[in-house]
Symmetry: none
Subunit: 228 residues, 4 copies
């Protein structure tokens, strides 16, 4: 009688999406549909080709126009998808941004283990900035942060699904450093915030240019400060 739940149970957008595009070679909209040029329903379940086409369109749009030129209408147009299809699976722009961001995660930053926290962090920062610069993910993340300022739900998504997850991945680096005695365990929490803040600040100011010396100095300061 009423509208179906949104999203349908068991197909959480943030879980299903990676399955679609995780394979590394993100399908282009053209390749995602059959030869007819018209992609149609495959029955009462999600069409992976549609999801891929939407993600790919959002990716390219973010890369070309940035957050400013991004709109659901344009994504639907490029993807050859209906808007309800998009809203069904990514009820919020934030969800779509997250999906775009995670579509690049396959080629993502490996957690380094160089035996030195400073070296690890330098490696991470440089890899992260290069990732942001060379993929649509930088734009996606800027968009996600901006979007989070307009919508509490988006903020929650950013905080709980994204930052928290990223923090978990970082945790291993800091745990190793604690074990090596490089930093005090009580400082880890604040160190993480400094680390995030530094990266966000640069991203939001559009200053993620490659500047190894400057990065090295900032990292060195963080590590030194957390020593004891």
């Amino acid at each position: 009688m009423s509208r179906p739940p949104h999203p349908p149970p068991g197909i959480a957008p943030n879980e299903a999406t990676p399955d679609v595009v995780q394979d590394g070679n993100v399908p282009s909209p053209a390749s995602a549909m059959g030869a007819s040029g018209r992609r149609t329903s495959i029955g009462a379940r999600r069409n992976p080709a549609s999801a891929a086409a939407v993600i790919a369109a959002a990716r390219s749009l973010l890369q070309e126009k940035g957050y400013a030129g991004f709109s659901i209408d344009e994504v639907a147009r490029r993807a050859g998808a209906g808007k309800p299809t998009i809203y069904r699976w990514w009820p919020t722009k934030a969800d779509l941004f997250i999906a775009v961001y995670q579509a690049d995660k396959a080629a993502t930053i490996a957690i380094p283990d160089t035996g030195s926290l400073a070296r690890d962090l330098r490696t991470l920062v440089n890899a992260l900035w290069a990732f942001w610069r060379t993929t649509p993910s930088g734009g996606a993340f800027r968009a996600l942060i901006a979007e989070a300022q307009t919508n509490p739900a988006s903020l929650a998504a950013l905080r709980d699904r994204f930052v928290a997850q990223h923090m978990c991945r970082l945790q291993i680096v800091f745990d190793r450093a604690v074990e090596r005695g490089e930093i005090a365990p009580d400082n880890v929490e604040a160190l993480v915030e400094l680390y995030f803040g530094f990266n966000w600040f640069r991203l939001l100011m559009n200053r993620i240019d490659d500047d190894p010396d400057h990065v090295a100095r900032a990292v060195q300061m963080m590590v030194e400060g957390a020593r004891r």
Copy 2:
């Protein structure tokens, strides 16, 4: 022959506005206009009452609805002002946000001089967060950052008119610390970035709750790291 520059020389929006509302008691729209209820031109020059009414309307709107519910239309409606009047003096939303932010600057954070960089920074952070929490300025600043992601002009305004200016004000604190030998001069630049990043991260995550211990620890880390 052509249209005059926008804004006219000598009446830079970000400079003239504070004069209007800097006196601490921001006039309400109602009080900003005469008894007639209709505010009109005062000749071929800016009407301070209009400027004040627009700023006040933008302030209250930002406070009530946040960045999401903010629109120039609504500001014009509340201020009893015409939209061209707003665009004349604040060509960009960012300009308006900056004006709103700076309207609270009167009650702003005094640069402390406690003889210790850590104490100075703790004082500053706590004052800044309280400022963000208790005035519309927190919302204004979040809005400004978000807006800067949609518009290169806004980003330039944020970077060149705002962050740069704020950095200048901070410089004195760090200069004193350098003179006292607390930190190495070469570290100042990176330290400023860590400081900004930490505050921005908390603001954008809407976590500027009062947590003196945590703040103290982060500040301590920054200072320690910059020592040598």
Copy 3:
């Protein structure tokens, strides 16, 4: 990929609209929408209820305020319609005026056949002026002519879609007169212009008052002049 044509093929505004409202009793905006008070999409095709509501709103607005007080914004407001809906189907004000004019065509002037050109024309002029006086169509037509002075597209619409069409309907009257030998065939073209000019002049001067004797004299002159 690109935006669809505007308007979509097969739904020419000036053809589809009459079907909606031709039934004589123009539905009011209220009756044009369901009980919910909110009119929404009926799928990927034109909603006749919306079209009817827009026409009705434009009619009443023209009747109340005339061409001066007419605006798309106000039409949208009264019709409870979105502006893009109006622009989608009536890209030009002229299109809307034509639609309003033709909405009254149901009660329109029957082509008379009295056996005498002078009697036919007298009947036509009196019926036309009464039509202009007693329906919003007089205002709509004045508006259309005025609009045509501001916009080449509107002028083309007036000339090609309207005057030409009206001339066709008149042709039959003159053809009969030619067959009866009342007028020379070579004079028909100029006679039509005199006839149109006479009516337009009176309408634009707002002097379509009922004055049968005066009309009779003018008609008589035209017919006499075209005799040989």
Copy 4:
């Protein structure tokens, strides 16, 4: 205490203006002001240079852009005049259009006296159309008619100050024809309407191209019809 009367007594716009520009060579805006490039008050009376500049600007604007692109703002801009100066002397757009029209009157159509009404009218129509085609007056008149549809005051101005005046000048032609026995006196009134209607229709449809044969036929019909 209150605003001065508008316009000041004794300087009716439609009377004073011709005096300024009637001399045939309409001064350009540049020549209308002194060498300084800035035209200022010449005391508590009308500045003819300003009036001339405004008329000239309106003329050229109408010629370049037509009624569509005409605005008081643009006239003021081109004339280097203040908007209140314009509104002071031409309270209505219609007044300004009339002034522009009459600025060309110097080179206006001479009343012919060929001894034949048909020849007189042919001469008049051809001269009028040429006048409309080759000067800004055609545009001015179209604008005046269009403007009259938005404003009863403009309509009154068109009817009482303009059409009536023009009719007076024509009267002499018809009076001569009556004296010659070419037409019946009772037909003059209707004949004038046919004559006006024919010209207006062609002007408003932007079809005042030179077509002597067609004009001759229409004129012949009018004269024949008015014979008796």
